[in-house]
Amino acid sequence: MIDRIWRVPAPAGTLRRLLGSATAALVAVAAAGPATAAAVTREYWVGATPTTWNIVPNGVDAILGTRYGNETILPTVTYRRYTRGWKKLLRNAPARNVDSDRIPGPLLHARVGDRIVVHFKNFDTRFNRAHSMHFHGVSYKPSSDGAYLPGFSGRDAEVKPGQTWTYKLRAGPQSAGFWPYHDHSTSMHESLAGGMYGGLSIRGRRERAPDREFVVVLAPTGDLQTINGHAFVGNTPVFSARVGDLVQWDVMAIGSEHHTFHVHGHRWLEHGVPRDTQTVGPAESFRFRWREDATGTWFYHCHVEQHMERGMIGIYRVTR
């Protein structure tokens, strides 16, 4: 029942040996999912968990040479993945470092026709705020909407610290794609500013899994413009692929601004039209694929210049 295994490209020499032990554990954790296209029920265990987050862990905007210190550190609450019954905290995504693990929340995979059951627990003892999960792109009853409306919504929209809720979703025929989920409770504004969002990646019934899947969430964090909660090259995700890989990019925006997502040296098709830049507004999302054929170290970034200068830029490395 192995759907896909997150493949982590082997870094070279000394660095590979240093990074090796952490990487091996991640592959084991992430290698879960059904192998066939038959509809199944997929269960996820997610918590709203307090953490301390550094937007610029290497302390520098390497392009402009600006240094940053402890002012880029903020206490926050993020979605984290757990084992069944929230017994053990897991990494949200395979990563070979300890700083890219909490924003965005876990990438939830499914296929069209699947039932998705998300067990949610609020561990927010830091701010003692209610939280919820609201999912785009899937079907559900109002009791799984997770959106607060006084007098109408129920416990799904206001899960208090220590409480749990189970969201029951269905990936219908129109669900294939990449979709956001996020807090939609009374604390939505603070939660989204602190990185409380994630993505649903839903494949068609007969759609093959990509060799690489890159999640890009464009959102403001603190005073900076971030990708997956980090700002500036080196801090934002360093995506890697090999020539011949089927690469999938999952892109979404959170916040109140529009972004123009651009990848250097590559194009993709949107409704049959080649593109290398695509606009994405608040809570909008899209995905695209290509068969990799261009070696090099490439930029990906938001092309709104003020956003790019404030950190919304990263690098993508392709090797043979």
């Binding site: 660095l15 040996r17 240093l18 520098v60 402890n70 700083d99 080196g234 801090n235």
Partner: protein, 291 residues
């Protein structure tokens, strides 16, 4: 007298351990205004054993054990009589001072109530020069503000003034420049002084040894920093700087070990952070891995 001996022992201990702030009695300011501070009586001890309250406030003891107890002043000022299981006793303290008490049935159960018009406490942790010391306290809210004074050897001098919250609590952040005593002053009243010892700098000692299957980086920190985390960072070109690959929490705030696979001979950086794992203390050290 027992209470005085314990206090003297603590003071002596603090004097011999650089960077150790003398523990203060717990200021139970969690009780609502007008409500008594709470002390729980267990089978063998009271919790908290030492409590600090403002002049005029009450303390209420709740017998949470199945045994009978008494709360009896060593100076004969109050005596609860026998307090049965799940029963309560309260006492108002209208005058300042330190009031030791015990249980007549179980004399090993002891406690103190410290009563003052202004309360002040500091974190029970170590400090080095440049740290920020957060002093917290409480007084009667009508005062409006309190002054914080420091004595570095030449007598108390004012360093800052902070406003009071509606419940009379206050918080002041002062730089740790050297060993000093602090007190909070409200009108003609002053808190008991709080002693802060400050080391010149926090020292990070790092060594790396090669084992049969792994190499191990050992870190020791002096003075200790409880709950702190050390990060191991190689320089990574595509990360444009030092990038954390491993992290470990210090045991007892003093030491940590990080196990790495054999083979690497890189120079790595060890960075000491606050307990949140992110905020750098500014203390770092390089070490070369043996391979």
């Amino acid at each position: 007298m027992r209470c005085l001996r314990v206090a003297g022992l603590l003071a002596a201990l603090a004097a011999t351990v650089p960077g150790l702030a003398l523990a203060q009695p717990a200021d139970d300011n969690t009780h609502a205004p007008g409500e008594p501070a709470q002390v729980s009586i267990g089978a063998t001890a009271v919790d908290p054993a030492n409590i600090a309250i403002l002049t005029g406030e009450r303390v209420e003891w709740h017998n949470a054990s199945v045994r009978d107890h008494t709360i009896t002043s060593r100076d004969g000022l109050f005596d609860s009589g026998v307090i049965g299981s799940n029963r309560r006793f309260s006492q108002e303290f209208s005058a300042g001072g330190s009031f030791a008490y015990f249980c007549r049935i179980h004399p090993f159960i002891t406690g103190t109530v410290d009563v003052a018009p202004v309360l002040l406490s500091a974190p029970a942790r170590s400090f080095v020069r440049g740290d920020k010391v957060v002093l917290k306290g409480r007084t009667h809210p009508a005062a409006g503000t309190v002054g914080i004074e420091r004595d570095s050897g030449g007598g108390f001098v004012p360093v800052t003034s902070v406003p009071l919250a509606s419940d009379g609590s206050f918080s002041a952040s002062v730089p740790a420049e050297g060993p000093a005593s602090f007190r909070a002053v409200s009108g003609t009243d002053a808190s008991a002084p709080v002693r802060i010892d400050v080391a010149a700098a926090r020292v990070l000692r790092v060594s790396a040894v090669r084992g049969r299957r792994h190499q191990v980086v050992r870190v020791t920190v002096s003075p200790p920093l409880p709950g702190a985390i050390v990060r191991l960072q190689p320089y990574v070109k595509h990360r444009f700087g030092w990038w954390t690959t491993h992290r470990a929490r210090l045991e007892h705030g003093r030491r940590a070990s990080i196990r790495l696979p054999r083979g690497s001979t890189a120079s790595v950086r060890i960075v000491l952070t606050e307990p949140d794992g992110e905020t750098s203390t500014g203390v770092r050290r390089m070490v070369r891995l043996p391979g």
